[in-house]
Symmetry: C2
C-alpha cells in the first residue's frame, strides 16, 4: 500500500529510524533469515517456552576486523553467548540479537553477517527470537557491533560452581590455545603472516552437554578462556577459590603456526584470546576418563590436561616451564590485543 523503497547498497541512518525503512530491512533480511513463530509475534519482545530456573548471559561483540580467517563477527556473537550459557552449566535455547550499525556498512556485508548468525544458531540449536537494530552516523561506530543475550535451562546433571573446585582437581583444555587472538591480530594492518592462522570460533554447548550428561558432578567448573586467555581464567579460579593452580607449559596444546606467531610478536599465548575451547576443572579421580571422552568428541580432539589445583600458593597460578623452572603467572593487567571479540 505504501511504496516500498528497495534496499540500497549500504545501510543508511534511516534504517534505524523505526519507520518504514527499518521494517523493510528487518522484513527483507532479518525476519526472512530467522523466521520462526516467536519472531512472527512481531511484539517488541517474544514469549518463549522455557521451564525455570533460567540461565542468562549477555555479550557485546566489537571485534575488528568484522571478517577474519575462520569466521566473522556474526557467528562469533552466536558462539560467544552460547558458550557463556554453557559455561554456567546451562543448555542454551534462545538468543536475542541486537545490532548497532555504522551508517555506510555495505548491505552485502550485513547480509553475510546475518547469514552466518543463522548458520551458527542452527548448528548450536538456538533460535533468534527477538532483536533490535540501531544505526549511528558514520564515524560514531565501527561498521557493526552486535549484542546477543542467551537464555536457557540449567543442565539437569550440571553441578558447576566455584565452591566445588578442590585440591587434586585437574585442569583440562578442550583444544589448542591462542588461535582466535592470533587470527585477529594477523588480519590487522601490518601484521600479515604468511601462514593462515584461523580463528577457533565455534560452539561448545554440545560438548558441555555431553560432558555433563556423562560425568555430571565430576565437572566442577567450566570457563571459556576468551579475553585474558587461559591465564585470565586460571588467575580468576586461583583467586576466587583461594587455592593454587599449577600449569605445565609442555602440556599446553598449541598449533605450531600460532606458537611461531606469538614468538615473533613477543606475545605469551597464555594471555591470548580463544573462542572455541573451554577450560574444565574436573575431579582428579575422573580426569583421565573425561580427557579421553573429550578427545573422542568432535569439539575436543586435541584436548589436554595442562595442570592441577593444589594447596600450595593459594590465590596464585604457577607455571612449570619447559626447562624445569617455575614462575608465577600474573593475570593480564591491561590490554594485550584490543577488540578481539
Amino acid at each position: 500500500m505504501y511504496s516500498k523503497p528497495k534496499l540500497p547498497d549500504s545501510i543508511q541512518l534511516a534504517h534505524g529510524s523505526g519507520g518504514l525503512m527499518t521494517r523493510e530491512l528487518l522484513d527483507e533480511i532479518v525476519f526472512t533469515t530467522f523466521q520462526n513463530p516467536y519472531l512472527e509475534q512481531k511484539h517488541d519482545g517474544a514469549i518463549v517456552p522455557l521451564e525455570g530456573p533460567v540461565v542468562i548471559s549477555t555479550d557485546s561483540f566489537v571485534v575488528s576486523p568484522i571478517f577474519f580467517r575462520g569466521g566473522n563477527i556474526g557467528e562469533l556473537a552466536v558462539h560467544g553467548t552460547v558458550n557463556d550459557v554453557a559455561m554456567c552449566g546451562g543448555i542454551p535455547k534462545f538468543l536475542s540479537l541486537s545490532f548497532i550499525i555504522e551508517e555506510g556498512l555495505p548491505t552485502s556485508d550485513f547480509l553475510k553477517i546475518v547469514h552466518s548468525i543463522k548458520v551458527a544458531a542452527d548448528a548450536s540449536g538456538v533460535q533468534i527470537v527477538t532483536g533490535d537494530t540501531k544505526v549511528v552516523e558514520s564515524g560514531k561506530g565501527d561498521k557493526i557491533f552486535i549484542n546477543t543475550t542467551g537464555i536457557g535451562s540449567p543442565h539437569p546433571k550440571g553441578r558447576i560452581a566455584m565452591e566445588h573446585v578442590t585440591v587434586g582437581d585437574q585442569v583440562l583444555v578442550s583444544g589448542p590455545i591462542a588461535a582466535h587472538g592470533m587470527a585477529i591480530l594477523s588480519e590487522r594492518e601490518g601484521l600479515e603472516f604468511e601462514s593462515e592462522i584461523q580463528s577457533d570460533t565455534t560452539n561448545l554447548n554440545h560438548l558441555v552437554d555431553d560432558l555433563l550428561q556423562n560425568f555430571g558432578p565430576a565437572i566442577h567448573l567450566l570457563r571459556d578462556p576468551t579475553r585474558g586467555g587461559v591465564s585470565g581464567v586460571c588467575s580468576e579460579i586461583a583467586q576466587d577459590s583461594d587455592l593454587g593452580v599449577v600449569l605445565r607449559e609442555t602440556d599446553f596444546p598449541i598449533d605450531p603456526q600460532v606458537s611461531a606467531a606469538c614468538e615473533i610478536l613477543g606475545l605469551d599465548p597464555l594471555y591470548v584470546a580463544n573462542e572455541g575451547i573451554l577450560c574444565a576443572i574436573v575431579d582428579g579421580n575422573d580426569a583421565s576418563e573425561i580427557l579421553s571422552f573429550m578427545k573422542g568428541h568432535a569439539k575436543g580432539s586435541k584436548a589436554a590436561c595442562i595442570g592441577a589445583i593444589v594447596e600450595e600458593h593459594p590465590g596464585k597460578v604457577v607455571m612449570e616451564s619447559s626447562i624445569g623452572g617455575k614462575r608465577i603467572v600474573t593475570p593480564l593487567i591491561g590490554e594485550q590485543l584490543p577488540r578481539i571479540c
Copy 2:
C-alpha cells in the same frame, strides 16, 4: 596480592581487556552498585529463578547526547527494555546489561550512568543479573552504547495479541506525546529552546501490571510509541490487523511547549519518539472505565482516548484534523530524528 591500579579519570582501552583492569572497573563500580546474589555467582552468566514461559526483549541504546533534560542513557536503557517486556504483557524481573564504551569517557560520567541504571532498575522492580563491558578506541564509538535485555513472566491476566484488536476498540495513550524526542532535539547543538522540555523517560511496567490486573482481557494490545512515534505504532496496528485506525487530532494530549517546539521545527509530534507513555488498544465497552483508571494512576494522569479501530480503510490510519478535515497518516519512511534512543 597483585597491586591494584586505581581507577583513572577516564575509561581506557585496557578496561575492556578482560584482565585486571576490567575486573577493577567491575568491582569498583558495577558489582558494588548492583550487588545481588546473581551477580555474585561471578559466572559468565547468571542462573535466576523464573517460572516459564519467559518473556524476553532486547534493546541497544545509542542516544546522543547521553545526558539530556529529564534523564540519561542509563535510565533510558532500563526503562526502554522494561517497557518492551511490559508491552508484551510480561512482568519484567531481570535485566542483562552490556556496555560498549568509547575510550576516554570520563569515569565520573560512567559512574553517573551506572548509578542511574541502579535507581531506575530499583524503581522498576528489576535486578541486573549479568553483564558485559567492552571498550573501543576513541573515534570508533560515541561515548557509550548500552544494551539491556529483559526477561520476565507473562502476566497471568494478560491476553495481549494483535489478533484481539477488533472494530470498536478504542485507542488510549497514557500521557502527553512527543516529549522525549523534542527533549533530545532541544539538547543538540544549535537547537536550544528557551523552554526546558523534559524527556518523559519512565517505567510503565507497574501501570501495565495494574491495567492487566484490573481489566485483563479488555486490554487487547499495548505498544510504547518510541522510534516512529504514535504514528508508527498506529500504522503497524492498521497494517498487521488489516483494520482501519481513526485518530482525532484535537484529543491528543501534548504539552504546549512541546507543541510549540514541533511547530517551530516543522516536526509532526505524531512521529516524534516517546519513552514514557504507552498506546493501549482496548475493548470499546470498557474504554471509559480503563481511561478513568489510567487517569487515577501515577503514570497515566494525563491519559486520553485519541481514536478508534474501524472497519473502513483497512490497513490505513486516518487523522481527523482540528479543522474538520481528514488525512491519511503514512508511517515514517526514513529518519526524522536520528539516535533518540
